[in-house]
């Protein structure tokens, strides 16, 4: 099976869905590579090249370049979705959600409920998350927990190219608004990806590794850091089960709880800040529904409750590292009450 990067997998998902369904449109800043500018057409394909080539195949009516105005992108996309299109709108950096959050939080997320099920809003918001490029405090955050907390929104946080393609196609075919969070350091990460279109259901976690000693839950880039930590610990005789929820809303509670009921020990790894986060949410879920199974306190490995630092040295300290994850797993594994 061909190896593809996350960038290629996402591009293929968009192209295949646009071929299959003429109501699928792409809208955002530079998604056509500057269609209105001499010599710039398809020059970029979005800031990271995910939409490259789409303008040539599908034209300007379906690949819509916008000015730098997130509120207009999300407003237009939400309106288009509720009136019959399936827009894939790009919010270049998730950090910018603040300027268009009414359109997402109070409009798109509420239409189906407010209209008694008569309106559907098949909107996908593709957006970049993640620290690690010294992009500073306003371009490095991972606010998927905020989208997750909104009833009416679905939230997808893929960790690899296979999942990215299947989850993006699922998101496009879904009749509800979906926020699709892409980590900015993972676009070149490769995996085996089928050429054919396929879907991965929401709310179905991926069990990345099997193990009976400690349950480790991680999302996005942290799946790979947790994997490194788990490799180290395997040499020490600690066998971890690594679970990637893939979607935070809906969340596959069953897979998490079944695993913790078996291992009795849980570490949650989350690149986001720790207050009111996915890590906290999952810790609360387990405390609530699997308390009797726990043999040790739940440990969360997260960023600190601070903005993301610009200084590379500090940013490295900010992001959970494989070493910090391994230390937390060792603590939980060695806990004897």
């Amino acid at each position: 099976m061909p190896q593809k990067s996350i960038r290629q997998a996402l591009n293929e998902a968009l192209a295949q869905e646009m071929r299959r369904d003429p109501t699928v449109v792409v809208i955002g800043e530079d998604v056509a590579g500057g269609a209105a500018t001499e010599g710039q057409r398809d020059a970029y394909g979005g800031v990271l090249g995910v939409t490259k080539g789409l303008i040539g195949e599908f034209g300007e009516a379906r690949v819509i370049d916008t000015p730098i105005t997130e509120s207009a992108i999300m407003g237009a996309a939400a309106g288009a979705a509720v009136t019959g299109l399936r827009p894939v709108a790009e919010l270049m950096f998730s950090d910018f959600f603040g300027v268009c959050f009414d359109q997402i939080f109070n409009q798109a997320a509420k239409f189906r409920y407010m209209f008694g099920g008569k309106a559907k809003t098949p909107l996908v918001i593709r957006t970049m998350i993640g620290a690690g490029r010294s992009a500073a405090a306003q371009h490095s955050q991972s606010p998927y927990h905020i989208f997750t907390s909104v009833p009416g929104l679905k939230c997808v946080v893929p960790s690899n190219a296979y999942d990215a393609k299947g989850l993006l196609i699922q998101a496009i075919r879904d009749d509800d608004p979906v926020v699709f969070c892409e980590h900015k350091l993972m676009y070149d990460l490769r995996a085996e990806v089928p050429d054919e279109p396929y879907t991965i259901p929401f709310g179905e976690a991926n069990i990345v590794r099997d193990g009976d000693d400690v349950t480790v839950i991680a999302l996005s880039r942290m799946v790979h850091y947790a994997g490194e930590a788990i490799d180290t610990l395997a040499k020490e005789g600690i066998e971890c089960e690594l679970i990637d929820p893939r979607t935070t809303s809906p969340l596959d509670e069953d897979t998490i709880l079944e695993s913790v009921e078996r291992t009795g020990r849980l570490v949650v790894v989350d690149e986001a800040t720790p207050r009111c986060s996915i890590a906290t949410d999952i810790a609360a879920l387990v405390a609530d529904k699997a308390f009797a199974a726990l043999k040790a306190p739940v440990r969360r490995v997260t960023a600190p409750h601070t903005p993301v630092p610009f200084a590379p040295v500090l940013e490295k300290l900010y992001i959970p590292s494989p070493e910090r994850i391994a230390a937390a797993i060792r603590d939980v594994h060695g806990y004897a009450g």
Partner: protein, 373 residues
């Protein structure tokens, strides 16, 4: 005397296997064994399988203990005559460790890649292994499976002859368009593959639904079919597990898929999580659920097999043998027992619906003896 020193290395079973994990040793260090005896168990991407001795010897050194994961080609154990000194074994192991990466790389390089063939405007995937001038074998999988079901069967058959394995329409890497999905259409496809690949004469081996398709090809084109091996075949009686067929078509999540796949084998613990994952990855592809639904309706409507091939089999002139697992919960072994007076029938203990995976060594021997060197 190093010619007397041989190795047991991590086998490559199937397309996706790059490494395997030692489940446990069935022979102890120092123990002697005869050819064909079971030496150790290995967990593969699909199912746990047994490595059998390719010749008699003494298990002088176990290099990879239970639980160890090795790349394909990695050294599992050293086999040598009792008189070979320990020091020579030490030297051999040390020398092999250096060669290990290149051995793995080499086996990766020669590992066959599947190819596509166009039949009636439809892309069908197949894999070819081996060389030889005799009649080749062609392996035909069952409902919902693909050519990887033959991961333990195709490589040994490919020693000394050409061995083909096919993905039926709607399955594996083949196009997902199946037309009516009925026996007629799938038989046309198999016949078309023989034509397109220029296979004049062939030993057909079919599992489950693939057995029925192979039987129909043998019936239509007897001059082309040298022999027919039917493994847990469809078409020999009305009973079939409706809960398997329906459950397989419906399953979209890991838990459901694992439960349904457990029905296939005698010991559900043998089914690995990656076997479940492979099935889910297949089932997630666009068009697969529609294809499987059509096939299930055409073949197994109302939880009964609509196709009865017992008369056709009786009329066949080439050699036919039946192989079945005694504890098959999908199609009962009674279907084979009913034909035991007329045909060679081999019912294997401790096996479910996948004897070619659960009892790979025995099934390979039966096929090898049946089709001849």
């Amino acid at each position: 005397m190093s010619a007397a020193v041989t190795t047991i290395t991590m086998p490559k079973w199937g397309l996706t296997m790059t490494e395997g994990t030692v489940v446990g040793w069935l022979k102890q260090q120092g123990q002697r064994f005869a050819e064909g005896e079971e030496i150790l168990e290995i967990e593969t991407p699909k199912i746990t399988n047994v490595v059998e001795a390719s010749s008699a010897g003494t298990l002088r050194r176990i290099v990879a203990a239970a639980g160890a994961t090795l790349p394909v080609g990695g050294l599992l154990a050293v086999v040598a005559a009792d008189e070979v000194p320990e020091a020579e074994i030490d030297v051999f192991v040390a020398g092999f460790a250096v060669a290990e990466p290149s051995a793995a790389a080499e086996s990766e390089a020669v590992g066959a890649r599947p190819q596509n063939v166009e039949v009636a405007g439809r892309r069908l995937r197949y894999m070819e292994l081996g060389e030889g001038s005799g009649a080749p074998v062609l392996l035909v999988h069952g409902f919902g499976a693909d050519l990887n079901t033959w991961m333990f069967t195709q490589p040994p058959l490919g020693a000394g002859r050409r061995a083909f394995a096919l993905d039926l329409p709607g399955h594996g890497g083949s196009a997902k368009e199946v037309g009516a999905g009925d026996a007629e259409g799938l038989t046309d496809a198999l016949e078309g593959v023989l034509e397109a690949l220029g296979i004049e004469r062939v030993h057909l081996i079919g599992h489950s639904m693939g057995g029925a398709i192979a039987t129909l090809v043998a019936s239509r084109r007897p001059e082309r079919v040298a022999s027919l091996t039917l493994i847990a075949s469809a078409g020999l009686g009305p009973e079939i597990s409706a809960s398997f067929i329906d459950g397989f078509v419906r399953a979209s999540r890991r838990r459901d898929a694992a439960e349904v796949l457990g029905l296939l084998v005698d010991d559900p613990a043998l089914v690995s999580r990656s076997m479940v994952e492979d099935v889910l990855r297949y089932k997630r592809l666009d068009g697969v659920t529609a294809a499987l639904t059509k096939i299930a309706e055409a073949w197994f409507a109302g939880g009964r097999q609509s196709l009865d091939l017992t008369d056709r089999i009786a009329a066949l002139t080439m050699p036919v043998q039946l192989v079945w697992g005694r504890n098959d919960r999908i199609i009962p072994a009674a279907h084979a027992e009913a034909l035991a007076a007329r045909l060679p029938v081999h019912i294997l203990d401790a096996s479910g619906h996948l004897p070619h995976m659960e009892k790979a060594g025995e099934v390979n021997r039966l096929i090898g003896q049946f089709i001849g060197g």
